[in-house]
């Protein structure tokens, strides 16, 4: 039961070196552009993302995660929109079920939007260390306690997953059936989640004490081992991204 599909990939590249907020801004601009730009520009943006993932040496990780995320979305879009959007022209028919050509085209159009969105998001995740992102957010005024929640939650997931596997194996060894009927599977789920959650909740008092011992509640500025500073390249990238997306918005409005 290992679900850790995507994670930060430590490499040395220009993209990794960019300030986390520059990368966050880029993701935002790519998402806005994906929804407002015509298909040709969207394909250009997608190609840019592919090239960037090669430059950042994370192509295989991004491609694998993108296929897992996009395949069910793509199939769903083509089938569902193919069934719904009828502007003439039947692509194929099985009994009463008709798939329309215009619907499939509309599904593929939407798929191109989601490809840019998912691609930009995955690239951002693989080249941005969550701790550096949290530090960057704290430096622009986001409370450090929120950063703590975000980073700790990401760290806790693999630990809880491991614990879930141990509990599942222990329950199975005592005869619990997690396959078969729906009822049996739900019973298995409850038997897994209850001790997992209770075990995690019981650790909170110890964790609270440990945090207090480190001055968690003390007010005042914090320092971080992960120093993040915006370079000239960051400011140039930010200007280019905002300028590009503003131009695209004006072009689509006028």
């Amino acid at each position: 039961m290992s679900y850790g599909l995507i994670r930060y990939q430590h490499r040395k590249s220009a993209l990794h070196r960019l300030h986390p907020l520059t990368k966050l801004l880029l993701v935002g601009c790519f998402i806005v552009a994906a929804y407002i730009a015509p298909l040709t520009i969207r394909l250009g943006l997608f190609t840019l993302l592919v090239c960037a993932s090669f430059v950042a040496k994370v192509f295989s990780t991004v491609a694998r995660a993108a296929v897992i995320a996009l395949l069910p979305l793509g199939i769903g879009l083509v089938v569902i929109r193919g069934l719904i959007f009828n502007a003439g022209g039947i692509l194929f028919q099985i009994g009463p079920i008709v798939i329309f050509e215009s619907g499939v085209r509309s599904g593929l159009q939407f798929f191109s939007i989601l490809s840019v969105f998912v691609g930009a998001g995955l690239l951002f995740i693989t080249v941005t260390h969550p701790r550096r992102l949290a530090t960057a957010l704290y430096e622009v005024g986001i409370p450090y306690k929120l950063s703590y929640v975000f980073v700790t939650a990401l760290q806790l997931v693999p630990t809880l997953q491991e614990r879930a596997v141990q509990i599942r194996d222990a329950q199975r060894s005592r005869g619990l059936d997690t396959s078969g009927s729906i009822r049996g599977r739900i019973r298995g789920l409850v038997a897994l989640l209850t001790p997992l959650t209770i075990g995690a909740l019981i650790t909170t008092q110890t964790r609270s004490l440990a945090l207090e011992a480190r001055g968690f509640s003390i007010s005042g500025p914090r320092s971080s081992i992960h120093g993040v500073t915006a370079s000239r390249a960051d400011w140039a990238t930010r200007g280019l991204a905002v300028g590009g997306v503003t131009g695209m918005i004006l072009w689509s409005v006028l």
Binding site: Y3, I6, A69, L77, G107, Y148, L156, A164, L189
Partner: protein
């Protein structure tokens, strides 16, 4: 009058955010994520349980802490699984607020009331989730629920009708199960480990009356 209400709201929010709350929040978020994965592994149809941790926080602490947990559930899920979850972030915040307010007003006291909590969360999911699915994702979610959307589409429904129909079928099952499961789990947490802010669960008492 309005100043008094604002002050009481601020006091309520401040009361919720103790060090123990800040420790519980990442645990609640991680529980939501691991529950969503576990349910995926045992392949139970129409069950996602990604609101489980948020509802647990809502019962244990209150609406505002649950809203913060909700904010981070989908952000973290986007970081671990895929970024499409980011768009659904407002939903989890609303789940947290609704479940939290219902918890402090005694809606987790018995199974009938818990089912109502599940239904309220399901209604929020239908009203706020369907527009996100249609406008941002073209009507699909990339999950098994798309088969239900496909069924409605094949019967002649338009994209809005198909998505709303799908959420009406799927969401009550998932959200009622999540609310009941969250209450059962909180009930089994030993009393000395429960925060002082915890709402009564299966107790027959109403905290709002205290």
């Amino acid at each position: 009058m309005s100043t008094g209400v604002t002050e009481s709201l601020i006091t309520r929010i401040q009361k919720e955010f103790t060090t123990q709350t800040w420790v519980l929040l990442p645990i609640g978020i991680a529980i939501s994520l691991v529950a969503a994965y576990a349910v995926n592994a045992v392949r139970v149809p129409f069950l996602y349980l990604d609101a489980l941790g948020v509802i647990i926080i809502a019962i244990l602490i209150g609406p505002w802490a649950a809203a913060v947990a909700g904010l981070f559930v989908n952000i973290a899920q986007g970081f671990i699984v895929n970024p499409t979850f980011w768009f659904y972030t407002p939903l989890q915040i609303l789940f947290g607020l609704a479940a939290g307010y219902m918890a402090i007003t005694g809606w987790f006291r018995n199974i009938q009331k818990i089912v109502v909590v599940g239904l309220v969360i399901a209604v929020i999911s239908i009203v706020a989730g369907a527009p996100i699915t249609v406008l941002a994702f073209g009507g699909v979610t990339g999950t098994g629920s798309d088969a239900v959307t496909g069924f409605f589409a094949a019967t002649g429904a338009n994209v809005w009708e198909a998505v709303i129909g799908q959420t009406i079928v799927v969401e009550p099952i998932d959200k009622i199960t999540s609310a009941v499961l969250a209450a059962l789990i909180v009930k089994r947490v030993p009393a000395r480990y429960r925060p002082s802010t915890a709402a009564p669960v299966f107790s027959g008492e109403d905290k709002s009356d205290e």
